[in-house]
Structures are given as C-alpha cells and as structure tokens.
Symmetry: C3
Subunit: 353 residues, 3 copies
C-alpha cells in the first residue's frame, strides 16, 4: 500500500481496515470528507441506517458503510462493523504529516543541561529550561516554554505557546495544545488572621502516554504529592484540573469541565462539557456524567449521572424558578394537605362506621 | 473637525453625531469619562432619566443626554436619540491610535512564502508561518503565532500572544485578544476496545469581517468541514467554540459560554455569560439566552430563553435543594392527594344527594 | 537557624512557629510531605483528630499536631494551635528559591523608556513595552509581554507567557501565573441598527499588593474607570473578571468563577469554584458563596449563600427534572387541592354544626 499521507487504492484501504470491499477497488482516495461535501477522490462514511437519505445524495468516490447499508448504494464502498472507527483510521492514514522539521530553531533558547533528541524539533522562540529532556521525534512548538527539569517522552507534539512549569513529566506520544498550562501552583493558602499565607506547591504534574490535552486547559501541580493524568486520557479545551487530582486511564472529558482539588476520577469514564467535580471525592471506573452536571459527592457505582437543568422560554422558566425558590414551602403545603385530608377522612368515615 | 485622537470642539462633535447642541459649542473635549469621575476637558453621557441625580453632580465639561433630559442641566450638551451609541462613536473618535508601528520587528520569525503587507506590523518575537498572508494595515502582536497558510485580512488587530493554527482565515477589521487559540484540533476520538483513536481534524476555522474575539477564547477547527464565525460576531473572553459550530452574523456572546460541536447559532442572537449550548442543535435568528442557561435542544422561535437557578442563603437553599432531589416524589404525593380528595368528595357528596 | 531553603533542626522550627516541641529537637528536616508519603528528613502535619489513624502509620521524621493529638504519637513533633498554618510557614521556609537569576536575557526585547530595576529579572523572549517599569527583585518570565506604560512593583513574580496590556498597574509581592491576560478590552459594544459599535475601553486594571492570579485567568480593563483588585486577593485559574469589577481585599476566589461587569465584591469573601456573579451587583464583606452558585442580585448580609444543584443517577434526575419544568403547574395543582379541600371541610363541617 502507498505511503502515509498519499492517495490510496480503495482495495488497499479495505484490506487495511479488515473490511469488505464492494465495487471498484482501484478508485484512488486522497481525502476523507463529510457526506454533504465529499466529491471526487474523497471517501465519506455512514454510521447508521438513518443517514440513508444523505447517502443517496453523496457524491464521494467511495463510502464506508455498516452491514445494514451494505447494498444501499452503488458507490464503491467498504462494509465494516464500525464505520466511525474505520473513518478515524483512514483519516489518520491519509493525513499528511504536518510536524515541524526536526532540529532546533536558531531563535529558540536552550538552557544548559537540557537534552534534546537529535530527531526532535524545537520551534522559533521556544524555551527549554535547565536539565529538561525532550525525547525522540517529539516537537516543541514556537513560543512554548518547557520548565527546568521537565521530561517529555518520545513522539510527543507540544503545540505552540504551551507552558510546562518546572519538573513536570509527560509520557510518550502525548499531544498538548496551545495555551495549555501544566504545573502552575495549586490554589493553596492557609488563613491567618484575615490574610492568606501561601502554601508552596511542591508536587509535580505527571502525565502518561497517549494523553491529549486541549487548548487553554490548566493542570495544577500537586501541593505535596503529584497531580496525575494516566495513560490514554483525553482532555478537551479550557478544562481546569486542580492540585492532587488523579484522572484514570482512558477517561475522556469534554471542554470547560472543572475538577477541584484531590478528586480521584476512575478509568474509562466519560464526562460531558462544563461539568463540575467537587474536591476530595472519588468517582469509580466507567461512570458517565452528563454535560453541565455538578458532582458534589463520591460516585461509587458505574452508570450515568446527570444534574443538567435545561433552559426554557423565559416567561415559562420564571414561573418555575419562582417555585424553585419556594420548594420547601410548597412541600410544607402538600404535607399540610395530607394532614388535613386525613382528618377529613376521619370525620367523614366516622358517621359511616 | 480636528484629527482623530486629538481634542475636538463640542459643536464639531454634535455635528459629527447629528445631535443637537445646547450651550457653548467651543468647549474643547479631549476624553470621555464616567459621570462620577469626569472633569474639565471631558465629556460624559446619560442614557436614562433615572440617572438625573448623578447628572446634577457631574463636573464634566460637556454631556450627552437623551431628549427627556434636554433641559435637565446647564452643562454644555449634545441632545440625541441614543446617547450610548453617541458615546461609543465619540470615544472612538477621541481614542488615540495605539497600534504598533508598521514593519516587522527584527526578532520576529517570518517563514518562507509568507506575504506581509508593507504597511502591516509584526511585533517582537511573533511567528508567521509558511505561506501565511497578513493584509494591509493589520498588526500581529508580540509573541503571536500565525500558522502555516493562514490568511489575515486588512485592518485586523491580532493582539499579543495569540495562536492561529495552520490554514485559518480571518476577514477584514477583525480583532483577536491575547491568549485566544484559533484552529486547535476539535475533540474527536473514536472508541476502540476501551481506548480512543484520534480523528484528524482536517477542517479550518473561517472568521468573517468585523469580528472581535476575547482573551483566552478557543475556537476549534472543523473535523471535516469548517468551523465558521460570520461577519460582525462579538465573542467575549474564555468562550469555547467546538468543531463545526457556525455562529451567525452580528451575534454577541458573553464570557465563559461554551458551544458544543456542530451547533448552529443564528444571526443577531445575544447570549449571556457562562451559557452552555449543546452540540448538534440549531438556534434560530434573534434569540436571547440568559446568563448561565443550558440550552439542551434546538430553539425554533425567536425570543428570550432562560434556565438560570439563582443562589440564596445556604440554609434556605438547602431546604429547597432537598426537595429538588425529591420532586418526583412530591409530585406523586400531590397526585395521591388529588385521587384521595376526589374519593372524599364522592363520599361527601353522597349524603347530600 | 539555618538559611531559607536548607534543612532545619526541629527545635528551630518549633521556635520559629512559636509551637511546643515534643521529642528529639535535633532531627533535621529538609522537606514537607503528606502523611502518607513522608519519610526520613520530612515533616508532615495533622489538622484534626479524625486523621489519627493516618498519623499512626506515618513514617515522617517529625509531625505538626494540634493540642488534641499532643500525646497521640511518639514521633518528634511540634504542637500548635493551627497546624495547617504552621505547615504553610514551614513549607515556605524550606522551599528553595527557584526564581530566575536577575538580569535581562539577551533574547528579551526592552523598548525605549522602560525602567527595569538592577536586581529584577526578565526572561528569554519576554517583551517590556515603552515606558514600562519593573520594580526591585521582580521577575518577568520567558515569553511574557508587559505592555507600554505598565507598572510592576517590587518582589513580584510574573510567570512565563503572561500578557499585561498597556497601562496596567501591579503592586508589590504579587504573583501572576502563565496564560493570564490582564487588561484586554472589556466587552463593550453599543447596538446600532443590527450591528455593534465598539466602545473603546480606556480604563486600566489596577492590582494591589500580595495578590495572586491563577493560570489563564482574564481581567479586563475598565471601560472608563478602572477595574480594581485590592490587596491580598487570591484568584485561582481560569477566572474571568469583567470590566469595572472591584474585588475587595483578602477575598479568595476558586477556579472558573466568572464575575460580570461592574460587580463589586467585598473584602474577606470566599467564593467557590465555577460560581457566577451577575453584573452591576454588590456583595458585602465576609460573604461565602458555594461552588457553582449563580449570584443574580446583590448580597447585603454576610453569611453563606448557595445555589448548587447536585447531580444524581440519570434515571432519578430525569424524573425530577421533568417536574422542574412543570413546577408552576405542580404548584397550581396544590393550590387547587387547597381550595377544594377547604370546600370539602365546609361541606363536612356543615352537618356537624
């Protein structure tokens, strides 16, 4: 099969995926595209029979379809169990490598004792601190700061304008997007007669292999022990991870979620956007939390959790919100009704006895 | 009238606004100021008759007032229909240009094939990637990265320390504040036996004319098709716009709002701070959404929507929140009361027949 | 006693804290550590008698304990009134100074008229604008931009990759973490026939002494008057402070909280994470606001306030949320029951008279 980043024969793609080819296997595919926009030389995909109408209109050179749609089109196609996963794999295969060339840009500043692999890349204006290590094939984007003593593994992509504070550790093949700040001080202050005494944050941030961290996400260093992000964790943009949090392997968390100090999140969890996780709680493995939910106490059973309050037309919402502020009173009125109705029944039952 | 950024005669300002002058038109105005702090050489404004007391105390050299307050002061004044808009225009007129001088700072890094207009400015330590285009009179702040193949139109202000990933497009006269990240990868992963396979994000971010984007806001590139911000959109700070979102022209969104993937927001909408918009929904034109609301499904009618839950003294809130967790049970008790009361009435009505 | 950042005798630490020494005062302490991980040469602390089990297992060389646990261990110890505060002070004492060396890195860009104290430090690739002032012993991290005319006091730590827009003022001993943006334009636009006219933001951000500002926090400049952060305020990560907000001295605010324009927050307040404060309201001194609460109107009395809606298993939550959308109807049914029951009682009481 052809090299990564170059056009591929459909038959080769089918073999690569372990899918079943239907139609012309010699069609050349150079890009993935959406059902609506795909054209010549492009492959699209359908995950579900309900998208059949869009499939009918699709002008792609080839499509990936589930078994249920194996015969639903004449377009050359790959039939497979999981078209979405197949699409991910083909998109990776066709994606041209856009990594910066290896080597250290002349404008980068490398402090003494830093060790940068010969095939690693350090971009314009980047900074690599004293004793920091950048592993083989890893790239450090322009304007990124790698603090003193940090360790970045092999095959990582640290995009432009990221900050790693001193002593943080990143595993292999991890990706960190622009604006992320890894290892800033946790929010720790002791009260002292009306003022705050700062508690030095002496722990680190330790990030595993195959982790992805979104743009402008912040992960604070531990107060004493480390903040830990295990292997395969995927964090979206603008997430806040406080000091001493631990996030279990292969957990995925959508944008704007906040996790307060010392919370422990299990493995294989999925957390929706803008969720809020209280500090010092534990969430077991395989928990799903709906977007915008506020998790105030530990979750000890796998499953789905939610606390989302949906919006409504304002006039309607205001009527409900007024009662929301008076739920205790409403409940008291119900209790009073129950008491009074019981009395009525007694009075009433009386004569009939 | 005098040059932009220099003091102006009040009569010239009145003519510029198309407002009516009352009092001495020769007063020289060099700055706008608030009613409380304004002094000599400054102009302030009143939007509403209820601010009349503050107007009485105001020591500005001139004021802008609505028709209802035309005779409410002896201070030289401009009477006009919309004093807030008039204030905006005068503030723009008096604001000295603080743009960096045109030209490329010697410490900036410009890659091959980049085209930078002769009167554009590129600040210290900025980076302009391969084949990127910077239009006439646009400025790129210090430490900002413009990715390979990006296109920035004319008259834009890209402030310090912004990141544009490869291939993004910005129209004319748009403003992007520090820390914004435009075009990072959308959050797209396909599950594969307990791990996540990354889906390359091959779309772009396309931003129109006259758009303003706040500090530390993130706008992800599309998965396949583009993420689109139409003309005149105003985004505040720390907003998250996920992949394949479209925001319609002249919509304004306040800080910390999150918009999940593939949501389509109409034109002329106003969205309050910290709102959350679910993915794959559509919001029509001219919708107003209150701060902190969670929009979980499409909105098909213009109008006001809300889902804000206001805080209360904790003791009071806890009483209500306890019932919030038991609303279903409370409703069941009401239903039971209704059933029992119906029975009572039957018993009761019996004897009277 | 030994120099800051070097090992200390336990007896010296006890004297420094004004605590009572029990056991061997000659033990040398070089680091603080958690109860679980502490070992030889390390000191740990216990705040409360309920941690006694962990204390029993602790292998630290010394511990700080409250009076109630004075005799609960044989480990050499310091007994004092507030072990958490004592820990903070000892951690500061033992923390090695990790500040960058004074002096201006050759790759930094210093514009004309900037005044940088001889013992201040400016990191690689940093930018200090026209007329800006950096006070004694302050450090400016790599890649940080200090705008024209800014003033940074003495002993400040501005970490890597911070942006201060023009004219902002920072007091003494303040700390600003990476990615923070201070002084970007407030979100001010006047509507004009379906489009928005930008209102130049001509105020500044004025920050007091001993303030700490977290990673990726944004504080907008005032529209006309200044945005003000008073002495001793502690702001966590990803907080948004809009234009013309004032935050009173020694108030601490946890991550992801948003404060809308012109809100005034009192002194000695504590605000939990992801809280939302409406614009143009006032919160008096000594108010505590629970995490995730939405403060929609002024708070005039000190005390605790909350509006947090906790998550639950989704099936349970959906039952409650369905009624949340129909609270007004539920309340109407209760009212109807009350009316009908009153009628029943009348009927019922009738015969018994």
């Amino acid at each position: 099969m052809a090299a990564k980043g170059t056009p591929q024969r459909l038959a080769d793609l089918a073999a690569y995926l372990g899918g079943e080819l239907s139609g012309d296997g010699d069609v050349l595919i150079s890009r993935v595209a959406s059902l609506e926009s795909a054209g010549s030389g492009e492959i699209s995909f359908v995950t579900h029979a309900r998208h059949r109408t869009a499939l009918d209109r699709c002008r792609a050179s080839a499509v990936i379809v589930p078994q249920a749609l194996a015969e639903a089109t004449d377009t050359p196609r790959i039939v497979c169990r999981d078209p979405y996963l197949a699409y991910a794999r083909i998109a990776q295969l066709l994606d041209p490598e856009s990594r910066p060339a290896p080597g250290i840009h002349p404008s980068a500043v490398i402090e003494s004792g830093a060790r940068i692999a010969a095939d690693a890349g350090v971009g314009a204006g980047a900074y690599v601190g004293y004793g920091a290590v950048i592993g083989a094939r890893s790239t450090v984007g322009p304007g990124t700061q790698i603090g003193d003593g940090c360790s970045v593994g092999e095959g990582c992509v640290i995009h432009a304008r990221v900050t790693l504070y001193r002593g943080c550790v990143i595993g292999d093949r991890s990706v960190i997007h622009s604006g992320a700040v890894i290892g800033a001080d946790g929010f720790g202050f002791a009260p002292d007669r009306g003022t705050w005494v700062k508690i030095p944050q002496t722990g680190r941030v330790v990030i595993g292999n195959d982790v992805e961290i979104g743009a402008n996400t912040t992960i604070d260093r531990g107060a004493l022990d480390d903040t830990v992000i295990e292997d395969g964790v995927k964090l979206d943009n603008q997430i806040q991870v406080a000091h001493n949090v631990r996030i279990g392997a292969h957990t995925a968390i959508a944008a704007m979620t906040g996790i307060a100090g010392s919370a422990k999140i299990g493995r294989h969890c999925m957390i929706g956007g803008a969720a809020r996780i209280m500090g010092h709680i534990t969430i077991v493995d395989r928990v799903q939390i709906a977007a915008t939910s506020f998790v105030a106490k530990s979750i000890n059973e796998p499953g789905n959790y939610s606390g989302a309050v949906p919006a409504a037309p304002s006039a309607e919402w205001l009527r409900n919100a007024a009662w929301l502020k008076n739920l205790g009173k409403l409940a008291a009125r119900v209790k009073d009704l129950e008491r009074r109705l019981a009395a009525v029944r007694t009075d009433n039952d009386g004569p009939t006895t």
